[in-house]
Symmetry: C2
Subunit: 95 residues, 2 copies
DNA sequence: AAAATACTTAAATATCTAATTAATTAAATT
DNA sequence: AATTTAATTAATTAGATATTTAAGTATTTT
């Protein structure tokens, strides 16, 4: 289980998350939005997956990636604790 | 202006922020909570300061550090945009 | 079954980051 | 004025991170 903080500290990975917010995508489709190679992207996706920030599911030959809220909870909790942000999500986020 | 994401990605720096939440502190006092040296801590504080996550003010021979909410806003905004968290801060955080 | 497509893993490398010791600046105390 | 205390800057080093090319695995198509 990798650190979500390390995962999200990279600008390219944050951009990947922004893309996945709009719709689930496979690596090849995601890669079109970046300058680096597919293996490079694959490494980023693995880091996001290990941090529970994305989920992958196989669809035949393709692999679809989608957002996973789980890994974000620990981070939100930190913002609540340190800066006093108040979150409206009594159910989904146990703080 | 350094990246708040990079600043917060380090566990020691997050611990510093947790300490400053309780009370304002100077580098020597903060350093007692860690294993590394004062110059090491000084580097961490500079990174937090450059990211607008802390503020420093001189008090004679001492330098007091305290939390700065400013640098956290960009990050919270990301959580709102990507994972749909809802924040209760209509005034302080323009989303 | 051969070829093409989609993706990951491996190996190598260049850059970034965190930490240390030594030197420097500045304020308070003796 | 000399010394102690507080903190930062500089130079160095070890380890982590991002990226590339080349090789490998799996699925679909011909």
């Amino acid at each position: 289980m990798g650190s979500p903080w390390k995962a999200i500290s990279d600008g390219n990975r944050r951009k990947i998350l922004m893309l996945l917010k709009k719709k689930d995508m496979n690596p090849t489709a995601i890669a079109k939005h970046f300058d680096f190679t597919l293996p490079g992207l694959s490494a980023h996706l693995r880091i996001l997956k290990d941090a529970n920030l994305v989920i992958e599911r196989k669809q035949g030959q393709h692999v679809l990636y989608s957002l996973n809220k789980k890994g974000s909870v620990e981070m939100i909790r930190f913002f609540v604790n340190v800066w006093g942000y108040e979150i409206n999500s009594p159910k989904s986020i146990p703080l």
